[in-house]
Symmetry: D2
Subunit: 433 residues, 4 copies
């Protein structure tokens, strides 16, 4: 049912890490311009507008609320949320994100938006009609299905008249706007409901069906995580991406924990099916949250993050404000020989892991190219040692030389065993010649 015409995990930019709820049209265009000019050639293509583009007072009570309860929103007569015209002037006159999507497309890029699952609470309390059927919002809204952290929506009921029609009405509108990517939130793990954390599975199905009806190739991305491993089969059937983690930020503990998550999900990466490690909090981030900051990750940690995301095959979504990229961060986003491992041709697997270190391999089925990465999970430098014959698809000839890709330097194994010093929280990434 899902779209699977994808030859690698999606790569792009997302407004959340820098702008929180406050991104506007000018910001989006500036980042798109930068991407088209500098990053497109390395595979980056999606421009995603994240949460609450429909809110008129977003960000105005930031000390008390990230999402203002009972706040002021832009909504049409059918209970369909619209971009706030003050922030997105091109949307005025009911044009929605059409003009902005068109602009992004004109740069050779793709355009995506964030949505909350469900129907606006206000639409339900006001008994607004659902487009395309005789039902109204109060009939399809489930007053017991809310998001635990955002006050905007009610979930849509299962198997009631008007429910699929509502999803058809919003997804059809997004397709008309030219949307290529939908990140639906409060749906991958509806964590308020601890005994039924996938309580909105039926809404995933309705979304997938509505997307299919549009005939448009739209990537369906599910948030937030952690995704439920016991629902892997369902995500894989209906969606393209699903978050394997709660919000990821620039903290070593979260990065270290990702090794567990990638272990858990490693066998689930396939064409059109991408477990998602979340955005890359690189460069300048956090402006919408407070004063903003440069990422707290060290360079070693950044290399570890990029290596893991790529070998695992995660989608890559940059969180940095692109127009403020420094040289180092820019260079990370252009590491072609590392980024290419997100392609479907590569199979990444964890070789071993404990509290102190991890080793991953990646194998290109088409070319036979073989990679191995040594990760140091400790706070001190350590020597990591591996017998490459342990890696099923990595058997090497004795003393075969290999190249480390981050420093572009050759190493030689002792027999089939390679021992190498790795910096704290750092990585060595080898490719077989």
């Amino acid at each position: 049912m899902r779209n699977s015409k994808m030859n690698h995990a999606p790569m792009g930019w997302n407004s959340y890490d820098y702008y929180d709820t406050t991104v506007n049209e000018a910001n989006v265009k500036a980042n798109a311009d930068f991407m088209a000019e500098n990053l497109k050639q390395f595979g980056w293509e999606y421009i995603i507008v994240d949460i609450e583009w429909y809110s008129k007072d977003a960000g105005t009570m930031r000390k008390n609320y990230q999402y203002i309860p009972f706040g002021d929103i832009e909504m049409d007569e059918y209970g369909r949320l619209q971009p706030d015209p003050a922030r997105f002037p091109s949307s005025s006159g009911g044009k929605g994100f059409g003009p902005l999507a068109e602009y992004v497309h004109s740069l050779g890029l793709k355009f995506g938006i964030h949505i909350m699952r469900g129907i606006p609470r206000e639409a339900a309390h006001r008994h607004l009609p659902v487009k395309g059927c005789g039902e109204s919002a109060n009939e399809i809204a489930d007053p017991s299905s809310i998001c635990g952290w955002n006050p905007d929506m009610y979930g849509v009921r299962k198997s009631v008249c008007g429910a699929q029609e509502y999803y058809d009405s919003i997804i059809g509108m997004y397709a008309d706007w030219g949307v290529d990517f939908i990140k639906c939130d409060d749906i991958c793990n509806t964590n308020l409901y601890r005994e039924n954390q996938y309580s909105a599975a039926h809404e995933v199905e309705m979304l997938a069906k509505a997307i299919e009806k549009t005939g448009r190739d739209i990537v369906l991305s599910l948030s937030p995580g952690p995704a439920l491993i016991e629902k892997a089969w369902h995500y894989e059937k209906y969606a393209n991406m699903w978050r394997v983690t709660d919000d990821f930020w620039d903290e070593w503990d979260l990065l270290k924990a990702m090794f567990y998550r990638c272990e858990l999900w490693q066998n689930h990466v396939a064409e059109g099916s991408y477990p998602d490690c979340d955005m890359l909090p690189l460069g300048r981030i956090g402006k919408g949250f407070d004063e903003g900051r440069y990422t707290r990750f060290t360079k070693e940690e950044q290399k570890t993050m990029v290596t893991l995301w790529c070998m695992f095959g995660s989608p890559l979504m940059v969180g940095a404000e692109l127009t403020q990229l420094d040289e180092w961060t820019r260079s990370l986003l252009m590491k072609e020989d590392i980024l290419k491992m997100v392609s479907n041709d590569y199979t990444g697997r964890q070789v071993e892991r404990d509290e102190k270190h991890a080793v991953w391999s990646s194998f290109n089925k088409q070319t036979g190219e073989r990679h191995a990465a040594y990760f140091n999970l400790q706070d001190e430098e350590q020597t990591i040692c591996l017998d490459w014959n342990q890696i099923k698809q990595f058997p090497i000839e004795d003393n075969q030389p290999v190249t480390e890709l981050w420093e572009n330097k050759d190493y030689e194994a002792d027999g089939s065993v390679l021992s190498v010093k790795v910096a704290p929280h750092g990585v060595k990434l080898f490719v077989c010649k």
Copy 2:
């Protein structure tokens, strides 16, 4: 902080088991009349109006909803719910339940109401002012705190301006009306929140404080159950009753399960502190739910229920429509020598229990009076046997005769051991002479 001037667990009538959401003024008066005339002398005194007396369309979509989402309610300009004047004509003109309470008082009885914790969702979405302060409903309503089974309210936030004032405003109004008993729902176990089932503890404290401020003796009863044993100290500090079970109905499995619940809570019964086994589904019940029915409990099961509730010390709230009482049920409610065990003078304890049977004792500290009950939890008749010297406060002289209270018949022990046949699901209740 709680009211503890009570010499026995509350006894009364509650509208829910018969009327569901649909009870009206005439129904309440008729039941009060009956109680005053026939039952008051046996200790029965409370008349409780249960859920959604403020709803104007309650019961009109019963096949689809017990509680209609986004339905029509009676509310004042401060977001305080009022009785539906169509159902409670005496409340018209803003008089609330004042006139009805006065009527009940005139019969020598006490008047109680059911409330849902929190503030009406509609008040929050409409930004109504809170009486007695500068805040408005949207500022004190917590959009993430809902009831899992009733769509009417939002929980009230902790430690925000206007929160205590809101509770003061409603409880003060109830005191003005002459309310003697408040059954607050969705508060004892806020079961939607599985990892924080006592998520509204702060609302219990606000309720208790508001009641204390009124200076009126108001019993505070918390629902639904099961109450959390690890919060026993909190219930005991702030409330008078708390439901130890989810809704109790006329099914043997629920009755059998109550033996576990009474075991769990037996050490927590004290003056002003009454773990609550829920209403007694006797006689005619269920009218508001469908066509109504006569209780499905056999007579033996009814005796078991009344005996357990009394020996444990539970509040006793009759669910039957009193005006339709048959002789048998009426006789149950007049069993003075059994009902008196709910008095604070008696201490009830489980002696032993397994899957097949249970034995309870009750000891009157003042008079030395001693009871023991043998319960048959099996589906066949069985002989239950007990050495009375095992019961700490029950040592009897050899071969001492005892009286069984349900059949009013004498039995004699063999030494200190009494063996007796008990009917399926039945009980023998002995008192020492």
Copy 3:
């Protein structure tokens, strides 16, 4: 690390369902003879001796114990369990299962045994030496690692000297005997340890390593279930089969529950990687447990079971005493056009499922052959209807005829939709022509 040279899920016979702990050499030979003569040609090849072949008093206290605590066992001087020579005469003189394996091989079949993970408790209490190293049993046995339901063994510690040597010593002996299949128990879900149900993961790794060292192709099968979906990656890395269910018997509720389990594990079937639905309790079973019985499954339920196991790709292990097979059961085991779906060439997927019905598809990547099965999970006959264009790999031309395989009858779709009546608990299995 695991053996993956397998072109379909293992098919064979297992002694447990009929013999419990009491199977002997003559029984094993008789079943092997039958298989060689009648079933081998349909893919059946494994003969498995199940639990406690080392016990000398197995079955003698069956009313009190399935597994006698502190009972009498056959063990060599290194704490390695040996077949009870009274039950397995050919094993006398230290020959173990060598002669019996040789017999089975002579029939063109393969030979397997059941083991409990760990080292005999008696070896630890007696401080017996471990073969091949200086350690003794008390040093490698973990006194806190026991099986919750069998009293024979202690788990082996992680990362201590002598631990791998112990596993090498037993697996090497099994390889010497000619064992082709090891079903290791109390390891897939060590269910006593509720917060660490995969507590013996290190023993799985030691087993896999020991098997690899032997150089022999030995299938590694892990029991009991339910396997932990979050450990799928680990099972897939080290083992060939793992039980997705606790013991399966001839009860509809268990069969119905298997639909959930197959849904959960459907994406995990691959070459050498077979989630295991457990033995097929067909024909005569249960003799070792009490008096024995004919399977309680109806014929419709048996067809449902075989269809589900085959489309899912589960190993097939017959529980029936083969020498007592009736015609019906025998015919089931010869249904070549159904059994072939366990081949690696077929991909089975659940199309839809609810409480009332399930639909599965199976697609042969090599030939393009397409199957669909309609399962009736209700107790009454029902009509199940499906639009075949919903099945990604099943799009059919309008009104294309299909054949039902159990009754060998042609059906025709109405457009792409096929509606068909299915018996209670039964199935219709269609193949596209």
Copy 4:
């Protein structure tokens, strides 16, 4: 059933905190001598020999094991553990702890021992007879019931012949020895069994019954914790003390957590019924574990600990080696006006608590004496403020002076409100004059 002739919570010395498994007769006598001479007059009376007094190799492999698996033990022909005669010379010749108990009694003190629930594993594997019946150890030992952290015993089965006889045989022997206090371990929370943490409830009942049969006043103390609040009724019925915490040591986090535990159990302190906060790790401790140390608690923390234990009504068991007591610690153990609050005459209750502070009250029903303690749970000094009229049994006259007991200084309230600075982790303890 339990012994309830106690007018205050037990106070004494326990060997564990200093000696671990290694205490010997001379150590015990030295501590008893010290107590008799210096502490007895303040209420201290119990001398407890803690774990593995029967082990001959205890402490010899301390780096690898606290409790050596399959080690060397002293046991009689009935599987009853005996003191190691090398460590306890007076026990030689089968006299057990008789002579040592006699010595302790001669000093006017009481003598107690630690036991593990169940029967030695070695007795079961050797099929030793149970004294007083025809059964043997292998018949009553449950091979699935072990301790998760100590390898010595198997649990005793429920309702099998020989089970009560075994407990009678050991408890009778202890009574013959003159034991006054039994601390039974692995019984209050059998934490290996996460879904049945009170799996040995039947062993508690057998212990209580065996004690009652002896006719001797023996205190029954259950370990380890945390005790299960839902089993409060059972502990209260059969035992005198139960640990509300896992092992308590000299770490602030553990002390801070005790405020939660005391909140939870506050309503469960009564005559003969003492929830137990565990030993007081004061003075010199830890010798058996490594080199030993002086308690890591600051003086403020020690005052906080002693105040909380006393107001709550916990048993008080000193962990310090008494013969090495410094002046400060000695003074703590002689604080008569604080220690007396463990008497049954006092009722202690938490008044309020949050992450930053706690307030407790204690009320003497006999004398009307009233205490209040202000605890600072923060790492910095803070001012704590309380309106004493909030404390039900503490209403004071305006500006009534009170005395702080640790510094013996007078304070005066402002109206009914007293504000006072409290040191980090410290306490102010006031008594009304």
